[in-house]
């Protein structure tokens, strides 16, 4: 058999993945089945206490809210990012627009979240505007609820969705839309039947780049979520930082990882079956 060339070239990657991914994940798994140390940390005694409380309604509610926030934010992000990337790909000065998409990264993430607090707060810009136009008398509480968490997530992850979408749309042959119209499709049908299936890779990437980070998000819900927008990330932080319950925090992290992996699997399965139905349609 031919000797496979370049096996050793993957050594740095292998070391990196082992050191920073496999070992930490292993530790999280291990901690989740150990018992709680008195002042943080863990004791070397097996225990399932970490998982015990995960069945209670309060925790399930947090799981539900986290999923809801991640789902709604992802859908909204994609809905905003799709037309935006389409426009950027089709316009001439797309470099300028791409730079504008990236510019927010130049400002520290936390500062940008604080900026949203200034915009949405009781004395914030939006409330000032509403009162000035006379639409409202009293300030409206925009912050510290699920809505605020979703808005800031959409804002934060928009560039992560726009960039992969732009990259695929930019490579799309727009002559195909012309061909579709020539063959009798109206504008919307040609976008739906020709553009969308051909940029599916970009859409999947954009969904993964938004949904997964939002699922584990912590800072945004901490700052603008209040008690309604409390997510799994906050829960983990609480058990590590305040409650000194590392097994519990690890157990939640394990649950989160499971949800993410399950979500990915469902997505890929759906994706595959969708391709299958296309094939079946052909046969009919």
């Amino acid at each position: 058999m031919k000797k496979q060339a370049g096996v050793w070239y993957s050594l740095p990657l292998f070391a990196w993945v082992t050191l920073f991914f496999l070992i930490p994940i292993g530790m999280v798994l291990l901690y989740s089945v150990l018992s709680r140390g008195n002042f943080g940390g863990v004791k070397a005694e097996l225990s399932l206490d970490g998982f015990a409380a995960l069945g209670n309604p309060a925790f399930l509610k947090t799981v539900g809210i986290t999923l809801l926030i991640a789902l709604v934010s992802t859908v909204l992000t994609i809905l905003v990012a799709l037309p935006a990337s389409y426009y950027i790909a089709r316009t001439k000065n797309n470099l300028t627009l791409l730079v504008l998409v990236i510019i927010p990264f130049w400002v520290n993430f936390l500062i940008r979240v604080f900026a949203w607090m200034a915009v949405l707060g009781r004395e914030g810009f939006v409330n000032d505007l509403l009162r000035w136009t006379g639409l409202t008398q009293e300030p409206i509480q925009f912050l510290f609820n699920i809505g605020a968490v979703i808005i800031v997530h959409v804002y934060t992850y928009l560039p992560f969705a726009i960039l992969p979408l732009y990259a695929t749309i930019e490579k799309f042959d727009f002559g195909l839309l012309e061909a579709a119209r020539d063959l009798g499709a109206d504008h919307l049908t040609s976008l739906k039947k020709i553009l969308l299936p051909n940029i599916r890779g970009g859409i999947i990437t954009a969904i993964l780049f938004t949904f997964i980070p939002i699922l584990g998000s912590y800072a945004i819900s901490d700052l603008v979520g209040g008690k309604d927008g409390y997510m799994l990330g906050n829960s983990i932080a609480y058990y590590i930082g305040k409650a000194n319950n590392w097994p519990r925090a690890s157990a939640i992290a394990v649950v989160l990882t499971l949800i993410t992996s399950l979500g990915l699997m469902v997505y890929f399965l759906l994706n595959r079956s969708q391709q299958k139905t296309l094939v079946e349609e052909e046969v009919k």
Binding site: L176, A180, R181, D182, L183
Partner: protein, 374 residues
């Protein structure tokens, strides 16, 4: 699959500009029902823009475009009974060959059974039966273009537009597909409008050809008319190759005129009574041509009765199997281009070589006065 009915296309006074450049200048032409009509011209002559106006992708600033008398300019591309075969095929990469061809029918919500039947009919037409489950990227260029032709024909349009459909294919495949296109045209019977910059493509399959340059139609006619009696010097040089000469008419004797010039002496040319540039009178300054394949070349002096005898020295011989391209220089620097068909091996007893003294002559019937010079 029965024979379909094509449309008559009338284009009247169509003009179109992009930014500062006017790409179509007052173009008028009529394409007959069921005709195989070519728009021929160099790149940038406006032929593709004219095609895109017919397809509905561009709107002219001025002019009228009708199909069988009905104005089609207000109709969007998807509402016109006109389909296009694109240069780069424009097949949908995510769909199989079957689904690509079925696409127009699916849009019309045709019943699945009917779709299947018709797709297979058209697969037969383009000789791709058995390939229906392939994806476009699994096929060769020629096969892809066949899929594209089937897809454009399946909704039974009145007009098929072909935008340089063969330019991405190699020469052999191009000839094959060209013949197939001709057959398909005979079978479906609708009007074909074929855009190309390749004169041999246009001449070989078209019923009529419109030669375009710089946004204008220079000549419309059958391939023979365009080749044998070109409207002007541009058409004469763009279609095939030719030798241009200039001189002054110094005798008119019925259909025969004699054109005198310092470099070539008297040259006799026959002109028809209905000649585009005629009638000719003594003193007219004219540009006339002789096609390279119509010049005879020999190493011995032609007999006395031959007209238009010129002698010179062979400057270059380019051999290409079925013919040789021979350049012959006169003493005064005038150069003739001759295509010698190799109808017989070593016709003059030996190969014509560089620096050899040769005689050229041609029949006055083969000369053509292409332009009157002012």
């Amino acid at each position: 699959m029965g024979k379909l009915i094509g449309s008559e296309i009338r284009i009247e006074g169509v003009s179109k500009s992009f930014a500062d450049t006017q790409v179509l200048k007052d173009v008028s032409l009529t394409i007959k029902k069921g005709e195989f009509f070519s728009l021929l011209g160099p790149s940038g002559c406006g032929k593709t823009t004219l095609l895109r106006i017919l397809a509905g992708f561009e709107q002219p600033e001025q002019g009228i475009v009708t199909l069988d008398g009905n104005d089609i300019l207000p109709l969007a591309a998807n509402e016109r009974p006109v389909n296009t075969v694109f240069q780069n095929y424009a097949l949908f990469p995510h769909l199989s060959v079957f689904e690509n061809i079925a696409f127009p029918l699916r849009l019309k919500k045709v019943a699945a059974k009917e779709i299947k039947k018709r797709v297979f009919d058209y697969l037969d037409l383009v000789q791709l039966r058995g390939q229906e489950n392939k994806k476009p990227h699994q096929m060769s260029g020629g096969q892809r273009q066949r899929v594209s032709i089937a897809r454009a024909l399946i909704s039974e349009p009145k007009v098929l537009l072909l935008d340089e459909p063969l330019s991405a294919l190699d020469a052999k495949l191009r000839h094959q597909l060209l013949m197939d296109l001709d057959l398909i045209h005979d079978q479906v019977g609708i009007t074909f409008v074929y855009v190309t910059h390749d004169q041999s493509e246009a001449l070989s399959v078209s019923d009529r050809v419109a030669v375009m340059s710089q946004g204008k139609v220079l000549q419309i006619g059958s391939p023979i008319e365009i080749y044998e009696s070109p409207a002007d010097s541009f058409v004469a040089s763009f279609i095939g190759e030719t030798n241009f000469m200039e001189g002054k008419v110094n005798a008119v004797d019925g259909r025969m005129i004699t054109i005198e010039s310092d470099k070539l002496g008297p040259i006799k040319v026959t002109v028809d009574s209905g000649h585009r540039q005629g009638p000719f009178v003594v003193g007219d300054k004219v540009r006339h041509t002789i096609r390279p394949e119509k010049i005879r070349i020999q190493t011995t002096k032609p007999n006395e009765s031959a007209d238009n005898v010129i002698n010179g020295i062979v400057f270059e011989v380019i051999y290409s199997g079925f013919q040789s391209r021979i350049y012959v220089d006169l003493d005064n620097g005038f150069r003739f281009k001759i295509f010698k068909q190799h109808v017989q091996y070593l016709e003059v007893g030996h190969e014509i070589k560089w620096n050899e003294k040769v005689y050229l002559w041609w029949n006055p019937d083969d000369g053509y006065v292409v332009e009157k010079l002012v």
